[in-house]
């Protein structure tokens, strides 16, 4: 097993951990962190593949993902903050206002 495979495996593990956290935990902040974890797993895989294919486009894409992730967190955290202030809890069960 070479480094590349190990790194992809690591990426997969990170994604799985993140996903598990996302579906099992009920704390919104933790779920947000788990999502970041998933994203990082995917990004790691992307980096590895970019390395293997020696593609500059993929490298650029990685940076793009970073930027998007940063922007996403910058919006998501204030939303959570506002929600928490409104509901006085971080428990997901309280956030069912969008019920159809």
């Amino acid at each position: 097993m070479d480094n590349g495979q190990l790194l992809v495996a690591l990426g997969a593990v990170l994604f799985a951990l993140g996903f598990a956290g996302l579906v099992l935990r009920r704390n919104v902040l933790v779920m947000l962190m788990c999502m970041e974890l998933m994203l990082n797993g995917v990004t790691l895989c992307l980096v590895v593949f970019a390395q293997q294919a020696a593609s500059t486009a993929a490298t650029v894409l990685v940076f793009l993902v970073f930027v998007v992730a940063a922007a996403e967190i910058a919006i998501a955290v204030p939303i959570v903050l506002l929600l928490a202030r409104h509901k006085h809890t971080l428990d997901l069960g309280a956030y069912t206002d969008l019920k159809g």
Binding site: L22, V23, M31, L92, K99, G100
Partner: protein
Amino acid sequence: MSNLLTLIVVLPLAGFLLNGLAGNRLGKAFVSAVGCGLPALSFAAAVAAFRTLEATGEPIVDVVFRWALIGDSAFEVSFYLDRLSAVMTLIVTGVGSLIHVYSTGYMKDDASYARYFAYLNLFLFFMLSLVLGRSLLVLFVGWEGVGLASYLLIGFWFEDPAKAQAGKKAFITNRVGDAGFLLGMFLIYTAVGTLEMDRVNAAFMGPELPAVSASLVGILLFIGATGKSAQIPLHVWLPDAMAGPTPVSALIHAATMVTAGIYLVARLSGVYLHAPEASEVVAVIGILTAFFAATIAVVQTDIKKVLAYSTISQLGFMFLALGVGAYGVAVFHLYTHAFFKACLFLGAGSVIHALGGEQDIRRMGGLAKRIPVTFITFAVATAAIAGLPPLAGFFSKDEILWFAFASEAGGAPWLWALASLTALLTAFYMFRLLWLTFFGQPRMDAETAHHIHESPWSMTGILVVLAFLSTVGGFVSIPHFLEPMLPLPATDEHLHHFEVPLIVVAVLIGLAGLAAAAWLYGGDASRAARLGARFTGLHRLLSGKYYVDELYEAVLGRPLWWISDRIFLRLGDRALIDGTLHGLAGVARLGAAALARIQTGNLHLYVWLALIGIFALLWWSFGHV
């Protein structure tokens, strides 16, 4: 002057605009001056044009402007004066001007005086376009336009819903005829490539006939003529049209507009000469209309309704003449009829005026001494329509009877027999009218009787002029004058020895009608009532006008309404189309409601659903790649 024909047409239009736009502000004197002056000028121009025509012998053509040019088909607005249109123009402007003058007296106290004269001038404008138009298109403009003027004038006192309704009925019945007219016009255009009537005639008279059945063209145009000239089956509007002011009935619904159908057929005689089937239809419809209308007139009790049915009947006579190829004779009767029928209507107007609006002859009687001028003129006109020599009606009616009998272009003894019977009925109901109105005991209430007065000179003067014309008009031989362009049909040589006996019969018929009316209504008043009681069924049938209105209502009116309302609106629009749409919208709403149940607001559920979705997609794609 080169634009004389345009001037004839435009002068009344100017009158309409002046009176319509400014009449109310400028006062009655101004309205009368414009309203009567411009038609009179138009008459003068018509006389001048007629003299030019006679001097040169060539038809006058006056091109006004090009209405449309599409590809190689040009539609021009141009006027055309030959002997036929000259006769019509003189009748229209002449009788028209007289009736305008009469109206200044009759409508003196009406609040809408200016509106009345505006409409009347508008009518003249359209009528002159009709008779002077060279192209069928211009004729059609006039044709529809006189319909409009008639609509507006029938419903002149529009506050009365029945009167407005009568106007609408006239317009719509005419529209049915117009649809036939349009089809005939289209057919001519398709076959000949022009709508100019002199060219159409030339095309049908030429060596190569157009590739279209002349009879089909003839019948389609005749449908239009039945509408405007109130022939069976479109005659129902004319009696109702009596709702308009009486001078209007005289001008539009007796002397001029209703004769437009006669003019149309005479104008396109080139087509009808090659259309024996169409001519036969014209003759049969004409004689049937003449007969049935005369039978209805016998029992009518409204003075104007009697005259209305008499008009329908006389128009039937004219169509009979057209149908047997005697176009000039039809125009002759049109010309004499314009005088005596206008005189009768205006006389009736004078009677109604004297009685303060009363129209029922059962409440008249004994008026001869109270309004002598009206009586004498009315009597002259009655004798004229009954065909007593030497009055105008005698000459024209006699010629119609002769050609109905002997013409080789469709004449037949049965046509003559029915026409003579109709002439007898005509004489009878006209003298009945005369007797009931002017002789016997007064039957009006004392208040009305007290107010009876002879009409002002503006009215009686016109009556005298028209009575004079009804007397001498027959000595102008219109058929002879028109013969160069409308040759009379050949008559059967073997029948020529009948000519003098037939004249004698015709005179006897007139006198018989007079005698019968005098016997029934002159002496014992109860004779007529007893007679009516003996034939109750017949009397009811005639009083009900053969129930044609009711028939149309049941066969056309109500089904149309029912289909529109029940089938189209309720079933089609609401149930089928909107129902389908609302159904679709309902399905969409139900589906949305079902899907909304998954929308629990629980994020974990969404994640699981997304996961399932991803796996399902992966599974599907593995299976298909």
